[in-house]
Structures are given as C-alpha cells and as structure tokens.
C-alpha cells in the first residue's frame, strides 16, 4: 500500500485528512506527484490548497493518513530532521514571508547560511540568483521598499537559491499584472527544465493555461481530479 520504493514519485499522500476542530479542511486525499512534474492544484478559495501544501513541509501535521516526501515518512520523522525535510523544498508563500528587518540580499542568503554554506559561495550565488530574477539593483534594499511584484521575485529567488528538489508556490501570481506573472512563470519553468518538481496552488486560470501542466482540482477539502466538477 505505502510504496516508498516507487522511484518515479517524489510526493505521495495516502488517505490524508486534516481537521481544524470540527472543521474538515482536507478529506481523504490521495496524491502521487512524480519527479520533475509541473502540477497545478486549483479550486475555489477555502478549498484547502494552502493547507495541502503546508502538510508537505510539516508546517502542520496531518490529522490522519500518511505523507511521503522523497523517501521520508513524515509521520515518523523526528523533530531534528524537520529542517532537512524543509531544505528539500523551496517555498513561495502566499504572503511572501520576507524578513522585514533584513535586506533583500540577507533574505535570500539566509537559506544558504542555514545549510552551512561558505560566505564566499553565498555571496556569489545570491548575486547570480538575484540577477536571474532581475532584482539585482535592489540588493541592499529592505523588502518593504519594494513593489509587490518585486517582493514576489525576491520570494522566488529565495525559493530557488538552495537548489531544492521541489518548489511549492502558493498563489505566486496573486496580485500581479500579467507581465510580472509571466516573469514568475518563466522562472518556475526554468527550474522545471533543470529537473525540479513544481507544485503551484492557484486559481489563476490564465497562469494554468499558459503553463500547461497537470491540473488537480480541490473542492471543499476533496481532491476531484483534472476537472473542476
């Protein structure tokens, strides 16, 4: 039943439930994500998209069921190993979650510092990533001085800088105009072409249409499949 040996899948969910008190946010989710997949999870607001992503990086535990991520069984992993799990992911949060007291550079560098990289390497790597997202000239600015689109690009830079296996993007184009959204989409596509796995939670139909990956719909906590009915 629980098949961790399946070489081609990187994420598996088995009969996963998530309740908040009596509120059922996710009901009996079964999901298999292959390596190097580009997956969209869509559905109306409150369907449980963000909740599903949170379960993957142990932002919170499942109420029932099993989750496997890259060979790790999340219900068995010790507290000490949680940071290792999280380093498999690059996460673009719905609300960016940039540290307001740090500069753009330091926000992105944090990921590499946390995994114990050398100062010199960090310096070079962060600059090059900020260059690819096109935000190089704001390197020493505090996040609040950036526009929404610029902040989102910093969030993307932070998500990719550690070369994760999987990117989780929660409404990555939430409040962006279509040009800015295209920049973000191209960054995600670039990561995908280099062998990464991408999961995007969004109700941006335009984005889904342009990207053209697999789509799964969520509705009231249930995974429906590729059609929103």
């Amino acid at each position: 039943m629980i098949d961790g040996k399946d070489k081609s899948s990187i994420i598996q969910m088995f009969h996963v439930h998530k309740h908040y008190g009596s509120k059922k946010a996710l009901i009996d989710i079964n999901l298999n994500v292959s390596k190097n997949e580009f997956l969209f999870i869509s559905g109306p607001s409150g369907a449980g998209k963000s909740t599903l992503l949170r379960l993957l990086y142990l932002g919170e535990p499942v109420s029932e069921g099993q989750v496997l991520v890259d060979g790790m069984n999340l219900s068995r992993i010790s507290k000490k190993r949680i940071p290792f799990l999280r380093r498999k992911f690059g996460i673009i949060f719905q609300d960016y979650k940039l540290i307001s007291t740090k500069t753009v550079f330091d926000n992105v560098a944090l990921v590499l510092e946390a995994s114990g990289k050398k100062r010199k390497f960090i310096e070079k790597k962060v600059r090059s990533v900020l260059r690819t997202v096109g935000i190089e000239q704001r390197i020493n600015a505090p996040p609040h001085s950036l526009s929404g689109g610029e902040q989102q690009r910093v969030a993307v830079a932070r998500a990719v800088v550690g070369v994760p296996k999987i990117i989780l993007a929660d409404e990555p184009t939430g409040s962006l105009d279509s040009d800015s959204a295209d920049i973000i989409l191209n960054l995600l596509k670039g990561f995908h072409t280099h062998g990464g796995t991408v999961i995007v939670a969004t109700h941006d139909k335009e984005l889904i249409r342009k990207a053209g990956g697999r789509i799964l719909y969520l509705k009231q906590g249930r995974l429906l499949g590729p059609t929103p009915i």
Partner: protein, 292 residues
C-alpha cells in the same frame, strides 16, 4: 560559528539600549557581590591575624609555692595544642600594669600590697587557634588543681566571629539574590529579542534552519553580555579599591590594614560565573519562549 558570532553582535547593536541595560545590570550585580567578597576575604585575613595572637592566661591559686611552678608548667605543656608556656610572676605583672597605666599610677601607688596573682601565659599551635579549640584547652587548664582561673580573648572574638558569620550569611544570600536577578534580567532581554524576532525565527524555520542555527546567536549574545558585565563590574571595583586603598595607606601604615584585592583566580571565577549567568538566562528564556 563565525556567522553566529556576526549575527549575535548585530543583535546586540540592533538592540543597543536593551543590551546596555542588561550589561549594566549584570555589572552592578557583579560589583556588589564582588565588593562583598572583597570585604570578606580581607576581614577573614584580619581575623586570622588576630587569632594568631590569641593567648590563654592561667592564674594560679594564691599561696602555691614557687617550687611547684615547673611541675605545673610541665602539666600545662602536656596538653595537646600548646605551643609555648611563659611564667609571669605577680611582680612582673604588676610592673607591666604600671607601665600601661602610667598616668593613673597614683591609684596603684595607694595599694600597699600587689593584688595580682602569678600566672602562665600560654600560646597555641596554629591548628588549635580556632575559638572552639581554645575553649577546649582553656577548660582543661582550668581543671588543674593549682589553677584558679583562666582568661582568654575568647568572648569578644567569639562575638565578633558570630557577627562576622551573620554578615557572611547575608553576603551569600545577597550573592544568591543578585545572581537570580542577573539571570532574570538576561532571560528577560532574550525574551524581548525573541519577541521582536519572532517573525524572523518563524521564517528561518520554514526555510529549513536548524534549532542550533536559530539558537546559537542568542547564546553567544547573552554570553557576551555576561562577560562584558562581569569585566565591567570587576574593573569598577578594582578602580574604586585602588582609589580608596591609596588614601587609606597614606593615613595608616599598619600591618593590620594590609588589605589586598581579590586574587586573580577569584575574579576570573567571578567573570566565569557572570558568563554562566548569561548562558543560564538565555537557556531559561529559550526553553520558555522558543518552543520548536
């Protein structure tokens, strides 16, 4: 490690006022506690000095013939803990008294008979100079048949020792209180820093930072604060001590007032203790407010 240190120093700078208050509080606590310690080590030296000078006077019953004196002396010398026994005849004692009371010697002139008894002046070996031992020896001497009375500087020394012990107890209590106060202050500072950094800590965890990575700088920060506080406290005490003792030395030139500063082992110990205060405050705060 280097990045932990940089982050810790940056934290101290960013929370400049808070850090300054913490360091000053620790410095004050260290200053007060070590001032007490300084007083006690010196008072202790003085006491030991006095105890060294302790003598027992054993007065002979009147009418004991002189040829018995060597025998009595031998008996006293046989008691364990005695170093030296000196005979002081009543004539000699009278002469000493007259010398001491030069101005009032007319009072003594009126006496037509020497009222003083013959006596032995007895000194003790070093290990028998404590209050209890002296009392024990004195009781033994007093029980000799030819001895009428013994006298020793015991009463006032004992009272002084009691007061001194009381002070010492108060010193320990104060040390304990200041220790806890300092730990509390550090814990509180770290708590406030955690509070201002809670967003940052949360995000660090989400991007895969280990607890060690998150906590390290807090420990370094509070150990730096503890160390600085300790060094400042000891430095202030040292300067104050130098100022006062150079003044005192001008007015008194007595061996008795040979006061010394704390030994290097002692003040290094205090600074270590202060570092420990920093560590402990941080530990408590992280345990309480930084649950994983």
């Amino acid at each position: 490690m280097a990045t932990y240190y940089h982050r810790a120093v940056k934290d101290i700078k960013d929370n400049g006022f808070l850090s300054a208050v913490t360091i000053i509080t620790i410095a004050l606590s260290i200053l007060i506690v070590s001032a007490f310690a300084l007083f006690f080590t010196n008072a202790n030296n003085v006491m030991n000095h006095w105890e060294k000078g302790i003598r027992i006077m054993a007065y002979l019953k009147p009418g004991i013939s002189q040829k018995n004196f060597p025998d009595i002396k031998r008996k006293i010398q046989g008691i364990y803990g005695i170093q030296d026994v000196n005979f002081i005849s009543k004539e000699e004692a009278f002469k000493r008294l007259k010398e001491q009371m030069k101005r009032q010697s007319s009072i003594l002139m009126d006496l037509n008979e020497n009222p003083l008894p013959d006596a032995f002046e007895i000194s003790m070996i070093a290990s028998s100079q404590s209050g209890e031992k002296v009392e024990e020896i004195a009781t033994k001497i007093e029980s000799l048949p030819s001895i009428e009375d013994v006298e020793y500087g015991q009463k006032w020394l004992e009272r002084f020792t009691n007061i001194f012990d009381l002070f010492r107890l108060a010193g320990y209590a104060m040390g304990g209180i200041f220790f806890m106060a300092a730990v509390f202050i550090v814990a509180n500072t770290i708590r406030l820093v955690i509070y201002t950094r809670r967003e940052e800590i949360e995000i660090m965890r989400l991007v895969g930072a280990s607890e060690k990575f998150i906590r390290g700088p807090f420990y370094i920060e509070s150990i730096i604060q503890g160390t600085l506080g300790g060094i400042i406290g000891i430095a202030v005490l040292f300067i104050t001590f130098k100022l006062i003792s150079s003044n005192v030395e001008h007015s008194f030139k007595y061996e008795l007032l040979n006061i010394k500063f704390l030994s290097p082992e002692f003040y290094c110990g205090i600074i270590l203790c202060s570092m420990f205060v920093g560590w402990l405050g941080c530990y408590i705060s992280l345990k309480q407010f930084l649950k994983a």
